[in-house]
Amino acid sequence: MSFLSVRGVKKAFGPAVAVQDFSLDAERGEFVSLLGPSGCGKTTVLRMIAGFEKPDAGSVVIDGEDVTHLPTRARRIGMVFQSYALFPNLTVEGNIAFGLKVAGVAKAEIAARVKEMLELIGLPKLGGRYPVELSGGQQQRVALARAIAIRPRILLLDEPLSALDAKIRVSLREELRAIQRELGITAIFVTHDQEEALALSHRVVVMSAGWVEQIGTPPEVYHTPRTPFVATFVGTANVLPCRIEDVAGRLSFHGAPLALDHALTGVTGGEAMMALRPEAIALAPFEGATNRLDATVRDVTFLGPVARVRVVLAGEIEALVDLHGEATRILPEPGSASVLYFRPESLQLLDRRDRAG
């Protein structure tokens, strides 16, 4: 059994359902991100794991112990809040020591642990300062130290970096990940920043409107999105209508034949949606690019390493093509006819899940 097991958890606030049906299994030491747009229920999931909210249904099991009905203070979890939430009346040391103090840990041991934590977060000299005397990045490090000082079983992070400016955000996220790896602690990290989620996680849980859309490794959710939402929320994708012609993986787009790189199981044919990344398309033939579509160039934006070409397919459907490197030397003329070339493995058939059921 996995270290953290969240099963069929649901939460409504009055008539509004914040989390519809959430399940996740995480291994010891795993770093899992919850990724989704604002209001999709990420924080609510985290708060249910922490015990700040009671799920309407489902269960939370940590290391074999069912904690669903346990109060937060008995769960041994560490949480880092978006707003840091440091205790303003205590110094940095006081904040880090707080959890050990209320647990009745001996003074000498507290002092040793506080010192160790201050070293770990790289602020060995700032133990005597008050939170108002720290920068946002420093406050967030202290919040992390405070959370891990109690040796929690799980570390919960609710957009811990989003209040910081872009440069610190990137360096602090690397640091955070290094500390997590060093301690081997299971971490659940909430973010609405896809780059953050892809860069840090073992696995990403993509959420939308209270539902789990897909759970997978960063390359999995990027390259094989299962739903139109995942395809467009993680990176940029052209989501196009298509017809399934047969179980061998042959499709058609407005009459033009296309092929997937795999056979289909349990699909009888009919209308479907497919995703195609702009950077997987070229305007010239290349090795293995057996799929082709006729297009008309609408406009071109040159951005240096990338040129973004807007094209029109089948006279009405807009799509994006990203040209890279040498391909940006000679750009297509707006209004000219062109052909899109791409490989079968670049084409991803999407689920049309019916959620009402």
Binding site: A50, G51, F52, P71, T72, R73, A74, R76, I77, G78, M79, F81, S83, A85, L86, F87, P88, N89, L90, F98, G99, K101, V102, A103, Y130, V132, R146, A147, I150
Partner: protein, 274 residues
Amino acid sequence: MGIGPFAVFALLFLVLPTAGLFIGAFQDAEGNFTLANIAGLMTPIVANAFRQSIIVSGASAILGAVIGLAIAMALAGPGIPRFIRDGLLTLSGVASNFAGVPLAFAFLATIGRLGLVTILLRDLLGIDIYAAGFTILGTTGLTLTYLYFQLPLMVLLIMPAVDGLKKEWGEASAMLGATPWQHAWRITAPILFPSFAGAALLLFANGFGAVATAFALTGSFINLVTILLFAEIRGEVLHDPNLGYALAFGMVAITAVCNIVYLRLRAFSARRFR
């Protein structure tokens, strides 16, 4: 230049009168320098007046501060509808300014010897509070009356600090394994303390200066500084206006100290608990 009118106002109604007081406190009736007035503050009747004032102001400040804090915390809690909170705060704004003769009359009409509540308690429940030693003209009665404006003033003064308590602090405590009591004692209490102490001092100063209520309620039945001051200046007892200045000077000094400490505590809170 925007503060020009304010500066003129402060000069005319605050600085000049205070300076006049200060000078008057060190002069005799002929205008010669003397320390006799200050020494006069030590005479039994005056010292007693200061003691009475401190008791009434102190009691009403402490009670008002404790109960006011409890009310403010209840108002800030979850599940209090917006309109109840807003309504009570508006009411507090009005009630904290409700002092003087109308307040005194209201209290006399309620729990005076022939007040409505006094009579109802006696006739319906058989409890005769006056027979039990209560009198609105005594220390307890005056304290009770002062509470009427002290308590709402406390609610207004402490509300911002209570609102400033973040929900996440409680959650962080719980996450770190603290019980709600440990959180209250180690986090909430230290954060609120400067605001609480400052507000209580302000209530004390406020009570100290509340002359009209005391005067209207008791006449000169109870010996408060403010009443003695009236008497001195109007010449009812000893006719020594300069002793009156010294009395006022003593009052201003106590009030000023309270205000300065209040401001310092408030600045501390604003700096650390921002």
